[in-house]
């Protein structure tokens, strides 16, 4: 037995020790409470930061359709072979991941006969930069190789087929300028809230660019948990990417293709509008481009060819090409003079073939004398002298205002990319830009659509449409509706920009003159004649360039049928040798044949 004296001391000290230990354990508990409950969120954040990666999944672009539901821009699946590195790693701990991946690439190459697309450098870069993602070893593989791979897929763990959406344009070159094209969007990854950024296709031109926000799907994302080595461990959650909206166009594929055929072999543009509501039925620009060239990637050689081509095929001439209009401007001058009352439809003006203003001489085409003629014949024959005199009589302001009210000198407001405004000169413009007064000679030039005046084919189509429907200036409607899976169809209404008021007999005289230009055997536009349909038109041959080496553009505006107009057209052909009526007339005729369902004549 322990002696009493010592037993007492020992027991006291035992209690002391026990309390000390309890204090120690309590201290631990307090520390644990602070770390786990007090600072738990902080440590959870550290955990997330080191083990969770955010991956962005690109959305699929919406499609583009013509008015009859024909698809103009679509997505097609593109198959690729992916190697899942995290699985590869588990199987071969003794080899480096790069070696295993290289061996796997070689094995797939042997099996399928594909030439390896990635080498050691790409694999190493992938492991450094986007280790948690599968390595895309091949993209755009064909059905045959896929079948061969599928046959032996059983024993190829760590290999999978991945599908990517590729932008395709099923109609090839048709409406290529209008549709535009897409390119891969390269972003600076640091700016993104994502660790890994799978690039989207982004609209680079045309409708693809103008409506990129609507067409582009909403990107999805996923959270991937990675292990300490940075390889994927599991997918925590994901939000699927949403498909973008579909664009419904007013374009008529049939008419569009006819317009493009009509421009075969030349540099130029054509526009077809519906005069009743401003719907754009065709917008063609030659030479054509095929948006498929740009997808999935544009090869440098193709790009160089497009850039270096003197015909500048990348320009959409129908919208951004600006030309002096020449004689197709005469109906505008006619209406200005008629409405001001300086002439009536019956007023006869004498043409001697030339017109002298001070020391300047202006002449008719080939200086032919037309004699005493009224407006209708002047339009049919495109007499310059008639319009010099009529234009001088009514003055520049009336012509300027009439042209402005028909939409010249400003953008039509068409929902498309890079539309030009053209140039509508006047005294104020000349003072501002050239610091010079406006002379009568300027009025003479303006009266026959020459001088500083510049228009786009789209603008002239709008003018032709207003001449046809009696003064309704519509904003050309290219997009008829936006269709989104969730929201359904949102239709775009036709927009009337302006109604020009003309006396009925005045517009009737202009329309009659234009009809005669085609239907009369001596009319300048007779080459555009269509059996069974009466066509009204005005031809033009606009001159440009230095006086010593004048060059010419051929023009034609038209509407048909002349009695109850439905279609308004404008066509330009650059750098012609003959007159506009001869060069453009037959092309316009072929386009009209197609519109009215007649076989297109051989030219």
């Amino acid at each position: 037995m322990i002696s009493d004296y010592h037993d007492k001391i020992q027991k006291r000290r035992l209690w002391l020790l026990w309390l000390l230990m309890l204090a120690g354990l309590s201290f631990l508990l307090a520390a644990l409470w602070r770390i786990q409950v007090g600072m738990g969120a902080h440590y959870e954040g550290s955990l997330e930061r080191q083990s969770v990666r955010r991956v962005r999944i690109p959305g699929m672009r919406g499609r583009i359709f013509d008015r009859n539901g024909e698809c103009l821009a679509d997505n097609s699946p593109s198959y690729g072979i992916a190697i899942y590195l995290e699985e590869l790693r588990q199987g071969a701990a003794h080899r480096s991941t790069v070696e295993s991946a290289l061996a796997m690439v070689q094995r797939i190459a042997d099996l399928t006969g594909l030439v390896p697309q990635v080498g050691r450098g790409e694999i190493e870069r992938h492991l450094q930069q986007r280790r948690a993602l599968p390595l895309l070893a091949w993209d755009n593989i064909r059905q045959r190789e896929m079948a061969r791979l599928a046959e032996s897929a059983g024993d190829l763990h760590a290999v999978g087929i991945v599908v990517d959406a590729l932008r395709v344009y099923p109609q090839g070159r048709t409406a290529g300028h209008l549709l535009g094209y897409v390119g891969k969007l390269e972003v600076v990854e640091e700016d993104q809230p994502y660790h890994y950024y799978l690039p989207d296709m982004v609209g680079r031109a045309g409708l693809e660019r103008r409506f990129d926000d609507f067409l582009a799907g909403r990107p999805g994302g996923k959270l991937v948990r990675v292990d300490v080595a940075g390889f994927k461990y599991e997918e925590i959650s994901s939000r699927p990417a949403a498909v973008g909206g579909d664009l419904l166009l007013t374009l008529d594929l049939h008419i569009q293709q006819a317009a493009e055929r009509a421009l075969a072999g030349v540099v130029g543009a054509a526009v077809v509008l519906d005069v009743t509501n401003g719907d754009v039925l065709a917008v063609a620009s030659a030479p054509e481009i095929d948006p498929n060239w740009f997808s999935p990637i544009l090869r440098q050689a193709v790009w160089n060819r497009l850039i270096q081509d003197p015909d500048k095929p990348l320009i959409n001439r129908a919208l951004s090409g600006v030309y002096p209009p020449g004689s197709i401007f005469k109906p505008v001058v006619s209406l200005a003079a008629l409405e001001k009352g300086v002439i009536t439809p019956a007023t006869r003006i004498n043409c001697q073939g030339v017109f002298t203003l001070g020391r300047q001489t202006f002449s008719c085409y080939r200086s032919v004398a037309h004699g005493d003629i009224a407006l209708r014949l002047a339009l049919e024959k495109s007499c310059n002298v008639f319009f010099y005199k009529a234009g001088l009589a009514c003055g520049v302001d009336a012509i300027h205002d009439m042209a402005w009210s028909l939409g010249l000198g400003r953008r039509t407001g068409l929902a498309a990319d890079s539309e030009a405004a053209g140039l509508l000169p006047g005294p104020e413009w000349k003072r501002r830009v050239m610091n010079e007064g406006w002379w009568d000679g300027d009025t003479c030039n303006l009266s026959i659509g020459q001088g500083a005046l510049l228009v786009t084919p789209m603008q002239m189509a709008v003018v032709a449409s207003a001449l046809a429907n009696g003064g309704f200036v519509y904003r050309p409607r290219l997009v008829s509706g936006f269709r989104r899976r969730a929201e359904g169809l949102r239709e775009e209404p036709a927009v009337l920009v302006h109604k020009v008021t003309w006396a009925p007999e005045n517009i009737a005289a202009v329309q009659a003159g234009m009809r005669d230009a085609v239907q009369s055997p001596t009319g300048t536009g007779r080459h555009a004649r269509v059996p069974g349909v009466s066509v009204a038109a005005k031809t033009g041959t606009s001159e440009f360039g230095p006086k010593a080496a004048r060059r010419k553009h051929g023009w034609m505006i038209a509407f048909a049928p002349a009695e109850r107009p439905r279609y308004a057209l404008a066509m330009v052909v650059e750098e012609i040798d003959t007159a506009g009526g001869q060069e453009v007339g037959p092309r316009m005729g072929r386009l009209l044949h197609a519109i009215f369902g007649l076989p297109e004549e051989a030219s």
Partner: protein, 393 residues
């Protein structure tokens, strides 16, 4: 014979035994959890731990049923044997060098045991023998010197392995036994002051030369001449400069803290500790030194609380055995064991939450490992042996 065993068993500390078994079972479960994300070797760790736990239970019962006075006679021989084993660590071919330290003894290529764990047990027994001998005057100076020398020998040998963490555990064990035995407070505080002085000197050695602009080689040379290896220096420096080298020695600490902290109140669930699964908590240490991180991550603060309560129950049993011990040797045995277990628990948990340097002290009954398991179960068996034979009031 059977009747006597029945009597002995009926007098056992059942609360302490149940807590012990609960900790053992918990350990097996979380070693399974810590190992299942690893390769094939890691996935079977828990089975081996199960074998160790079974062996441990056997030792526990054997020592509980054996009269602890039996060891009184063998105390010196056990002590000498432990010293011999500690020497064997330095014999090439028998001692195994791992992670820069010689801790293991191997035979025919198989790692057998860590002599330091056995030495702890032997030290407790010899100190109990020295201060527990009938008629010994506990205030004797000579006895104190003897006890200090008996402790210093294994401490120096373990520190030379080098295993600073394990070596440091011997000191509180000695202090608890001296305190309980009745050594005057004056002597004890003198010793404590001396120890504090030595510690201060160590810190000055570590921190002053770089501050004075000494070159690294010169500093290393000074430390080596004082018996401190660069490995030990690193470990202490990680503790002192918390942000130093976050990818090297500081990694385990940072990741263990994240594991414990992100467990929050209720934990992420069994086998759902991402720090462990994803390998941020290094897989080599998760089942042994950092098993508490795994538990705290997967079961949260509530799980950690449960573990600490279980240890408190075990410690409480040891103190009750000490209070009721029939003689001084039994009492000192129990105190030594309680101090040993408490030190391991405290240092290990404080290390996993970044309050103490990463020393590599395992958590009793929970950490994976054979030698330590056996020595802890033997120690608890000794406590039970004392408890069974204690006085009841």
């Amino acid at each position: 014979m059977i009747a006597r065993m029945r009597l002995l068993l009926s007098r056992m500390d059942w609360a302490g035994l149940l807590a012990t078994v609960a900790l053992l079972v918990t350990g097996v479960f979380f070693i399974f959890s810590a190992g299942h994300a690893q390769g094939p070797t890691g996935q079977t760790l828990y089975l081996r731990q199960l074998v160790w736990a079974g062996l441990g239970m056997f030792c526990f019962l054997a020592f509980a049923l054996t009269d602890y006075h039996h060891w009184y006679r063998w105390a010196w021989w056990l002590y000498l044997a432990a010293l011999l084993l500690l020497l064997l660590v330095f014999v090439p071919g028998i001692g195994v060098r791992m992670y820069g330290a010689r801790r293991w003894i191997q035979l025919a290529g198989i790692r057998l045991l860590q002599p330091a764990e056995m030495a702890k047990l032997a030290l407790i027994i010899i100190l109990a023998r020295v201060y527990g001998a009938p008629g010994v005057w506990p205030r004797s100076r000579w006895l104190l010197v003897l006890a200090l020398m008996l402790t210093a020998l294994p401490v120096m040998m373990v520190a030379a392995q080098p295993d600073l963490g394990t070596a440091s555990v011997f000191v509180p064990v000695l202090a608890s036994i001296l305190l309980t035995a009745g050594v005057p407070v004056r002597s004890l505080s003198g010793l404590a002051a001396l120890a504090g002085l030595l510690l201060a000197l160590l810190l000055i050695l570590l921190l002053a030369p770089p501050a004075l602009g000494w070159s690294e080689e010169r500093h290393d040379g000074l430390l080596r001449s004082c018996g401190i290896s660069s490995y030990q220096q690193d470990r202490i420096m990680v503790f002192l400069r918390r942000d130093a080298d976050p990818l090297g020695a500081g990694w385990n600490k940072a990741q263990s803290q994240i594991a414990v902290g992100s467990g929050r109140l209720w934990g992420k669930g069994f086998r759902r500790g991402t720090q462990n699964i994803l390998g941020f908590l290094p897989r080599t240490v998760a089942p042994n030194d950092f098993i508490f991180s795994v538990i705290a991550e997967e079961k949260g603060f509530m799980g950690a609380l449960g573990i600490i309560i279980l240890f408190a129950v075990v410690l409480h049993g040891a103190f009750r055995a000490a209070l009721q011990a029939p003689d001084r040797i039994g009492r000192l045995l129990c105190v030594g064991v309680a101090a040993l277990i408490f030190c391991h628990v405290f240092v290990n948990i404080a290390m996993t939450i970044g309050l103490l340097p990463i020393t590599g002290l395992p958590l009793p009954l929970l950490s994976y490992g054979g030698t330590f398991m056996i020595s802890v179960m033997i120690a608890l068996g000794l406590v039970q042996s004392v408890y069974i034979r204690g006085e009841r009031n």
